[in-house]
């Protein structure tokens, strides 16, 4: 990485230094703390560690995957009870009990999130209120299993026949907590985390890079409910006594408070949130009435004055963007050659895309009406027409965002009508959007790298444990992403926030992302809308490059200069019907086209 970049971001550097120092110090403090803290603080900090695990679980759900759920007290409770029952009633070893608790909670999460994939996200929030209520009543009623309302006792910890004392418990919990912190971090810095964040940011664009978002949502919720269950299991043995009263509505609110305080979607948020949410109310221990009101007031005020939470606010101040070490390792500076990167077999059939009788009706309006169109391999094919002619609808049907009412689409010789967009990307189709759809919570280079997610092979375990395979693939992927950034001249902005880029740069970035998917057919939906003269010029140069690399392009554009200059073939539509077709020259002189554009009497 060029040095200039690091200098330009000296604030980031400062942040990362402070951050590292802070982490080191707090880590050291938590290791030596038991030596002088005394039993009470040691136990309360152990409890905070458990809350951290819980908050990390919630963060993966709400912060990363964008699923708000109130059932986390229930997941926590299920984990606690299942592990307790496993240990006490079925005499399982402690560690197996932990796993059983986590797994059971994950399963409950799976069951409630499966239907949620169909439903808007705040519906899961509502389902989860019901779930919370149901779990609590079951804990109360299912006496032979849970001991009912009176609660149940769990024997002290016993690992490999060693009974743990408070010290050992503390360190044990600390280790589990650190494992979860590492898990969260590793997840965030891998394709899995990026995919989840992408879904939260922009569902459609996420689908556009091939993410089956409902599957990922479910997976994300499964993982987070498992962590909540793990926290519960640890809590069960830590506390030694369980009662359904613990896992109530108020506890859910406490989890929310941790998330709100710390900042959803940040790595340090759950940790900071857990610490502060535990300690601040303690200041009001002597005045219980005031404590409750302060608690409520915090919930009302904080999201309004500090929407990003504490760590989000700090991060914003420092404009922290992840330093990805794969970029720093970058040394080679050779000119990147798109051509060499597209070694796809060009000898297949000549027509890459054939559209027949494509029709789309919205209610009573027919937006696209029996459209036929054929795109030849290796050409730039433009689809033009006045505003509202049905171009975007056509493209949306081709790329699987809209379902056609009638007609068929054949891509590379295969019927793809009605396929979902995330399936099409694998088949070699990628697109950009009329209104830029970037992942604003990811850095510029990550935005490109996510385009290359199709070529990753490492599993979620590789990312959790940061295996060599994962590191290798990530490094390769980021190298390539940097190459694409070179093409669009954003090499020196790799670590920026996409929102800090100009409109033109954002469009280019989206293009780079689509390119990195190495498509056979690239669909560009008004790539130059809203760009300045010079930006448009730059864009056209890049489109030339892409064309020369042999990628077929379907282009929708209003800049006729650009269209005429670049297109091999043009289809003109109006009122959803094809009104003209041919090479650029024949289309411009066609009177029908002129009328369509300029109105009667042209």
């Amino acid at each position: 990485m060029p040095n200039s970049l690091l200098k330009a971001n000296s604030k980031q550097k400062k942040y990362s230094r402070i951050f590292t120092m802070f982490c080191t110090v707090s880590l050291l403090v938590s290791f030596v703390l038991p030596l002088f803290a005394g039993d009470y603080y040691m136990r309360i900090i152990s409890l905070i560690f458990i809350y951290m695990i819980l908050a990390i679980g919630y963060n993966i759900s709400a912060g990363f995957s964008g699923i708000t759920s109130f059932a986390f007290a229930a997941h926590y409770g299920v984990g606690a009870y299942v592990s307790a029952v496993a240990i006490t009633r079925y005499n399982m070893p402690f560690l197996i009990g932990l796993l059983a608790g986590a797994l059971a909670s994950g399963l409950v999460g799976l069951v409630v999130s499966l239907p949620a994939s169909k439903v808007k996200h705040h519906y899961l929030a509502l389902i989860s209120i019901g779930l919370l209520e149901i779990v609590q009543q079951i804990l109360n009623e299912w006496q032979w299993f849970t001991g009912g309302a009176g609660g149940m006792y769990i024997p002290s910890w016993n690992i490999f026949n060693i009974m743990l004392n408070n010290f050992q418990k503390y360190y044990f919990i600390l280790i589990i907590m650190l494992f979860c912190v590492a898990l969260q971090r590793n997840l965030r810095k891998s394709r899995w985390g990026r995919d989840l964040i992408a879904i939260k940011n922009n569902e459609i664009a996420a689908a556009g890079v091939g993410i089956n978002f409902s599957k990922y949502r479910i997976a994300g919720y499964f993982l987070s409910s498992m962590l909540a269950g793990l926290a519960g299991s640890v809590y069960a043995s830590f506390s030694g006594y369980l009662s359904p009263d613990t896992f109530n509505f108020e506890f859910t609110v406490f989890i929310l408070l941790m998330a709100v305080l710390g900042g959803e979607g940040t790595l340090s948020g759950p940790i900071i949130g857990a610490v502060i949410a535990t300690f601040v109310p303690m200041l009001f221990n002597a005045t219980p009435d005031l404590k409750q009101i302060v608690f409520g007031a915090l919930l009302v005020v904080l999201p309004q004055v500090m929407p990003a939470g504490i760590s989000g606010t700090i991060k914003k101040y420092f404009k922290e963007i992840d330093h990805n070490k794969y970029i720093v390792d970058q040394t080679e500076q050779n000119e990147f050659d798109i051509q060499s990167n597209f070694m796809k077999d060009h000898s297949e059939m000549e027509d890459i895309l054939v559209v027949k009788g494509l029709t789309k009706r919205f209610g009573g309006v027919t937006a696209v009406d029996g459209l036929d169109m054929t795109i030849k391999r290796g050409t730039v094919h433009s689809l033009i027409g006045p505003n509202g002619a049905g171009k975007s609808t056509t493209v949306n049907m081709i790329t699987g965002i809209d379902k056609p009412s009638e007609g068929s689409i054949i891509f590379n010789g295969k019927e793809i009508t009605g396929n979902k967009i995330f399936n099409l990307t694998r088949k070699g189709l990628s697109r950009t959007y009329q209104h830029v759809r970037l992942f604003t919570n990811l850095s510029v280079v990550e935005n490109v790298a996510i385009g290359g997610r199709l070529f990753y092979t490492y599993s979620i375990f590789d990312s959790i444990f940061r295996t060599r395979k994962m590191k290798k693939e990530e490094r390769k992927s980021f190298h390539e992403a940097m190459e694409y950034l070179k093409i669009i001249n954003l090499y020196d902005k790799a670590n920026y926030d996409p929102e800090s880029l100009s409109a033109g740069q954002q469009k280019l970035l989206e293009l780079a992302r689509a390119l990195y998917m190495k498509p056979d057919l690239l669909v560009l939906d008004e790539p130059c809308a809203g760009l300045s003269e010079t930006e448009t010029l730059e864009f056209s140069k890049i489109i030339h490059k892409i064309r020369n690399a042999g990628i077929s392009i379907l282009l929708i554009e209003h800049h006729m200069d650009l269209v005429m200059e670049i297109s091999d073939y043009i289809t003109v539509i109006d009122y959803g019907k094809k009104i003209a077709e041919g090479d650029p020259a024949s289309v411009t002189t066609n009177p029908v086209v002129k009328t369509a554009y300029l109105g009667e009497g042209a």
Partner: protein, 295 residues
């Protein structure tokens, strides 16, 4: 028969509470999680006015309605208005919860912890129809709920305000072009919702007793009813409320008492999954689909 009357009476109050949730949902697409507390405050203040200041029933409820209107508007101002786009920013979940906690605790401090005997309308007079004893109060519960439902339906369908509410709920920006101040409409909806909550709280309090714990014991049912019937429309609220009343009645005969609510919520979850728009599938589901218009 007795059970059916009770189920209907309770169900119609659940319907009112669901309606109040729907009123806010219709214009803002948010669910008022402080609603339980607002119901409770309605019941507690009217009890206070009735028994401490010895007002007559009508004035007491009227005043409680007024207090609730102001309270609901304050809730909107304090915890919702500044959040901006509520479909994007889901912090309202947290802030409304917070508002609820403050209200609950304030109520406990002000009104005390003991459940209060809230007087029945017409002194709990019972009339006997075909051997079934029906309290006039229960008939009033059903009657008042129906009247409010019909009134709301008329307001929403026939008046300028109602048209504006529907306009804001469908296309807030276009509504603003019409000269409608969307914020003010939302504020009005909060106010109306508060008023309805006060009446529903006052009507059900004689049965559950007035207490600061009503937030959970009664309020939570409003959500179940609203979701079973479908959010944001009057018919849905009534169907949801009455079905919840009946479900509870049937469930308590079949399962152990402690699992009754679990059954209600289970049914709620199944309804949400199978018919995301509630029994009367509302337009909601379309909101979750990919928006095809502007890509």
């Amino acid at each position: 028969m007795q059970e059916i009357v009770t189920a209907l009476a309770n169900g119609s109050i659940y319907a009112l509470m669901a309606l109040a949730i729907g009123i806010i949902y219709s214009t803002t697409q948010i669910i008022n999680f402080a609603h339980g507390s607002v119901i409770m405050i309605g019941a507690m203040t009217s009890y206070w006015l009735l028994s401490i200041f010895h007002m007559n029933y009508f004035t007491a409820i009227l005043l409680a309605v007024l207090i609730n209107i102001i309270l609901s508007m304050v809730i909107y101002k304090v915890s919702v208005e500044k959040l901006g786009d509520l479909t994007q920013n889901s912090s309202w979940i947290v802030t409304l919860f917070g508002a609820g906690i403050i209200l609950d605790n304030t109520a406990r401090i002000l009104f005390g912890t003991e459940p209060k005997a809230y007087p029945f309308l017409f002194d709990g007079h019972v009339i006997s129809i075909f051997g079934t004893k029906i309290m006039i109060h229960e008939m009033m519960m059903i009657l008042v709920a129906v009247i409010i439902g019909v009134l709301y339906q008329i307001v929403i369908q026939k008046t300028n305000f109602g048209r504006a509410v529907r306009a804001v709920s469908f296309r807030p920006d276009t509504a603003r072009i019409m000269g409608i101040r969307s914020n003010r409409i939302v504020l009005m909806c909060f106010a109306i919702s508060g008023a309805v909550a006060a009446i529903s709280g006052a009507l059900i309090a004689p049965i559950t007793f007035a207490s600061y714990t009503m937030t959970y014991s009664v309020g939570i049912k409003a959500f179940a009813a609203a979701l079973i019937g479908g959010l944001g429309n009057t018919k849905g609220a009534f169907i949801g409320g009455i079905s919840l009343g009946l479900i509870e009645g049937i469930a308590s005969m079949i399962v152990p008492g402690g699992l009754k609510d679990a059954i209600s919520f289970l049914i709620m979850i199944i309804v949400i999954i199978v018919l995301p728009g509630g029994i009367l599938s509302a337009k909601l589901f379309t909101k979750g689909e990919l928006k095809t218009e502007k890509i």
